[in-house]
Subunit: 386 residues, 2 copies
């Protein structure tokens, strides 16, 4: 298998955007292509991550539309979907395609247009990724699942609502420093704790917003990357794993087995462990997930991540900055874009291009993209390739 590098990346601002899905995907892709200093005619393949364009904007085969829109024809083009981990899955397949030796230059773009639909429609569309007969038809929603997980954490590990608010405050503060973030507004612990109830005990500030946006990266073999950039980012490892789909059927619903196993696989491939990671992007669609993922990846003992948050360990200037981008909470969560956006942020962090939200001199980074309610997780580990 060949080593693969990220040689360019781009993003749109996330938020409620006027542009349509194809505009957003095109903007992010063209920025990534420009950043990579490659020629359009050299592209072999394009992977597009998207979850719900068929339902929200009546478009399928969006990868075919994107290559047409940005003139990458005749490059191969496929859409990859894995719920909100579509971005991670598209990246993994783009990386495998380059690693195999079959393709040399690949674009991976993720995007979603969600603001065209009402919130209750979006909540329903997101829920279509739950178990079709054990969950979805009974009306379960993702906020309800996250609320149950939060309750377990509160009862078992002493997590309080104040801890959830502290994560929100941190991520809003980071988002304020990120020009691409959907929400660029500070919040206070008191403000978060008095926000509206979504699904008890989850308030508005403990859940991510509904966003439009797109992100893209350009991949090539590491040994060719220096032709294009002085700062290629090496894909050191990646791992993906699935778990039982219905939450009620899992041995312990507070243990994210797919996260644990995806992390093990990624660390094994990268030849390193949790203590070697300098900056992290986690999938905090709900703030409780930032805690649970950071534990199941192995950064903290189970049931102790909230103590690390208290001590500021996960802040930009802490020992292990988590979600310097603002995370899904503040950067936003256009579902198909998120997994790609995480890797874009980490690429910028490794290259030292993050301005006010720059983590100090990171050498290795990890992104965790979480599909379903934790039943399909994709993790990537990146490191400086120079």
């Amino acid at each position: 298998m060949r080593d693969v590098a990220i040689i360019g990346c781009g993003m749109t601002k996330f938020g409620r955007r006027k542009e349509d899905l194809m505009d957003l995907l095109a903007e992010a892709s063209l920025k990534a292509i420009k950043d990579a200093h490659v020629e359009k005619e050299d592209f072999d393949a394009v992977y597009v991550a998207n979850m719900m364009a068929g339902e929200t904007v009546f478009q399928t085969a969006v990868a075919s539309s994107l290559v047409d829109r940005i003139n990458l024809i005749p490059a191969a083009a496929d859409r990859v979907e894995n719920g909100p981990a579509a971005g991670g899955s598209a990246l993994k397949n783009g990386i495998l395609a380059v690693a195999s030796g079959y393709y040399d230059l690949v674009l991976v773009a993720g995007g979603e247009k969600m603001s065209t639909a009402d919130t209750d429609i979006i909540t329903d569309l997101v829920a279509t990724m739950t178990h079709p007969t054990a969950e979805y038809i009974h009306g379960v929603t993702l906020p309800a699942m996250a609320a149950m997980l939060t309750r377990i954490y509160m009862e078992r590990y002493g997590v309080t609502e104040r801890h959830l608010a502290m994560i929100a405050v941190k991520n809003h503060e980071n988002g304020l420093k990120n020009p691409y973030a959907h929400i660029q507004r500070a919040c206070t612990i008191e403000g978060a704790m008095s926000s509206g109830m979504i699904s008890d005990p989850l308030r508005l500030y403990y859940v991510c917003p509904i966003s439009d946006g797109a992100a893209a990266v350009v991949l090539c073999p590491l040994d060719k990357a220096k032709k294009y950039t002085d700062k290629p980012v090496r894909v050191a490892g990646f791992g993906q794993a699935t778990d039982v789909q219905a939450l009620q059927e899992r041995e312990d619903p507070a243990v994210l087995k797919s996260v644990k196993l995806a992390a093990e696989r990624a660390f094994k491939m990268a030849g390193c462990g949790p203590s070697d990671i300098d900056v992290v992007e986690l999938h905090d669609a709900f703030e409780i997930l930032e805690l649970a993922e950071s534990e199941d990846i192995g950064f903290f003992e189970k049931g102790t991540a909230h103590l690390a948050v208290e001590k500021g360990v996960t802040s930009i200037n802490g020992d292990l900055p988590i979600n310097p981008s603002g995370g899904l909470k503040a950067r936003g969560h256009p579902v198909g874009a998120t997994g790609v956006a995480q890797v874009v942020e980490l690429t910028w962090q490794l290259r030292g291009e993050c301005g006010e939200r720059q983590v100090k001199d990171p050498k290795r980074a990890l992104a965790c993209n979480f599909g379903g309610f934790g039943n399909n997780t994709v993790i990537h580990i990146l490191e400086r390739g120079w």
Copy 2:
């Protein structure tokens, strides 16, 4: 890149099925796993091809559901979508994943449940893969596009309605010999030519039906295949290419550039040419496509394929049997399943297991899976690996 083999395959009967999508995917997958003589716990990854489950049966992340349903957890699982070429795309990515050396045992399943929606809804959903602003919003449908292509063929190359009917008669005859086919009924030239008009000049018998169904294959490295089977089928080559999306913007709408280029790429990889192919499955969602694809792949000079049909060249006992399965016309076209079903049929043909519809002693086979209206094509070339 490692050589990849197909070591098992399975299919459901296509048609209007009572079972739901997950039942169909599970049935095809379990048959393929049984056929491959592999252990479930050895699976590394699953790729699921599906176009419209979000819209027709309100299910997304269907790959995560499938691994749960058939107990392949914790294998990685992704859905791949490329309109009706989703199957070809999922296969290509499964093959690349094994070829890369990262995965050793991969299941590729394709399925679609279409009969839950009315015909006009399906026609609309299929049209969502056309150009979002130049075509879809103006109400174009795929039958209308195929009618235009047919008209060009009639005016330019002397194709008559009788030729379309002859293809239908051939494919119905083949389908009658295929226990998996949706339509198992012979038809006559006169019957086809007096069937109802769909989109002038296309009558009912010149277009494929709307079907439910699923198909699956198991892939592993060729050098490990002999552990599982005496008759591994080698993936000799594959190619995918895109073309301008809007039909009106193509230089010549009768030339399927993505088919030409995908074929060139596949032949180059396989180290052979059109004359080395013994049996073919083409994407005849509309009968005119069987002609156009067979020409643009290089089996016949442009504008002459209908003469080959007249002479029986493409019949099961002809020099170049095309669609011995009955093709999309008679086997049916559950869109996400089709690309996988083509490869299942060809695997059976190479292994000599096709009973009444068996082509005589084929050594090399080609499948053409056609997405959009010919703007994203995936071609696979298979050969005996024993």
